[in-house]
Symmetry: C2
Subunit: 297 residues, 2 copies
């Protein structure tokens, strides 16, 4: 079996603590308007955090936080509406993105860049006129530079790989994952979603009407962590992970939980916080396509 | 004796919680480079916050946080160097501010505005060339509008008041408090500092070389809270507070702890956070000169 213990993941730094509380507050407000329940959630999260081992990764704590929110509110998926909104926004932007990619100088590189940048597209507040902004949103995403740029190796590797796992991240951006998948050997790819609700991360239920199911084979990882905590995933998923000769890992949560794992991985992400930026030695906000090779073969 | 219990102060909102942790982290880093000690502080603050009564004001929690930091690090005044730096920066800017005020159309109004704005002058990172920036720092402070503007009443009231307490806030800006004091009936004013170190708030020890001692009579309030928690202040200070017919209250911490107290108070502050801005019904970042009258006389 794949050795999942002892691997170095991104540990929790003290800077993550205020952020945990901010996240807990956001999620509790998403799930209930009852400020008594919100306060109860925050007090539980404070106690859990006080006892949390900082040698674990931030998504370990994220999993605890969002379980507390679900338990205290009875809402099995507090981000459901938010996720639907994002799927709808990306659905509107996808056709134009696809055209833009096709007309670009290097379509597959453009698709890759959009998949990375899609982690954090700025759609503005609910109710604004998306139609008039799509062009500028896409152009600014496409014009961003990559701070770590292993694209050349990414494409070379794709040709040789036999079994590829594509670990998804957020709902909505799944449309741009599809844009990238259209340039990958899709018959060799399995797309992976979370096994249960975790913030706005993609789950099986969030794939409805996105067109991804049917286009690529999809499995869930059996875990409700906002990352890929292998020891928390299902045995079936761990077997697939072990068998795959290449992993495409989307987003910060997957990086934080997998970095240090002995595997051939391409990390596609935006370094959204100072802790991760420091770990990757890039500026905060940087776009990254980073290859990590397995140790000895 | 002055009735200090039952008064409505600004209570702690859930949004304050991540901010408490951010503050605790900042203070622990100011006090020690030992990340084991920092982690111990954060865990203690998490536990204290979990048990904190949210009907108390944020400075109540601030006091607990900074006591924990001092206890765990053995550093009696972690912000000492920071405070010295700010005194030095304001000392450099003061002469030009004084000239600018004197030359302005309404000198005393300008002095009042600078005293309010001085709460948060942006000096940039350590090591930058202050000399070349002083003019623009002052001009932008003077050109800011007041979101609540009780200046007219402020000056009328000053003439009639017989015993005025001026509650100071941060070190550094004390130079701009002096600028305002130069336009007040200083013989009737007592300037109040904190009774012990509380973040970067002004204490007796921080007045050295500022020229304030000698210019105005100064007392400390006997408390190490970053605000004015009357029940935590010395009996001597509470007697003075009761006897005074007018209070000038500088900064957010004093407002949070005194708002609702039955007293004639002018609050001079910048609404630095969304919670306070909401309480005052102004935009975040607004400058405020707000008069609150005592109930029945």
């Amino acid at each position: 079996m794949f050795p999942v213990t002892g691997a170095r993941t991104v540990k929790t730094y003290l800077e993550c603590i205020p952020c945990f509380l901010r996240q807990a507050l956001e999620a509790s407000r998403m799930a209930t308007h009852d400020d008594g329940v919100q306060a109860k959630i925050i007090r539980r999260v404070l106690r859990e955090t006080a006892n949390f081992s900082f040698s674990l990764s931030p998504p370990h704590m994220g999993q605890k936080i969002h379980r507390i929110v679900r338990e205290e509110t009875g809402d099995p998926d507090p981000y459901r509406a938010e996720k639907l909104r994002y799927n709808m926004l990306y659905a509107q932007i996808y056709p134009q993105a696809k055209k833009m990619v096709a007309r670009s100088e290097n379509p597959r590189d453009s698709a890759l860049k959009l998949a990375v940048a899609s982690n954090v597209l700025d759609f503005g507040p609910p109710g604004f006129n998306l139609g008039s902004k799509i062009g500028s949103i896409l152009e600014s995403a496409l014009s961003e530079e990559l701070a770590i740029d292993d694209r050349a190796s990414f494409w070379r590797t794709m040709e040789k790989a036999e079994e590829i796992l594509y670990l998804g991240d957020n709902t909505g951006e799944v449309f741009f994952d599809r844009l990238l998948l259209e340039h990958l050997p899709v018959e060799k790819v399995t797309f992976v979603v979370r096994g249960g609700p975790a913030i706005n991360d993609i789950t099986m239920g969030d794939l409805d009407d996105t067109g991804l199911n049917g286009f690529v084979s999809v499995v869930d990882n059996g875990s409700d962590a906002p990352g890929t905590i292998l020891e928390d995933c299902s045995p079936e998923f761990r077997q697939r992970f072990e068998a795959a000769d290449l992993i495409i890992s989307k987003g910060q949560g997957n990086y934080e939980t997998l970095s240090g794992i002995d595997k051939h991985i391409f990390y596609l992400l935006k370094a959204k916080c100072p802790v991760l930026a420091r770990d990757l030695d890039v500026a905060e906000g940087s776009l990254v396509v980073k290859e990590v090779l397995p140790k000895a073969v």
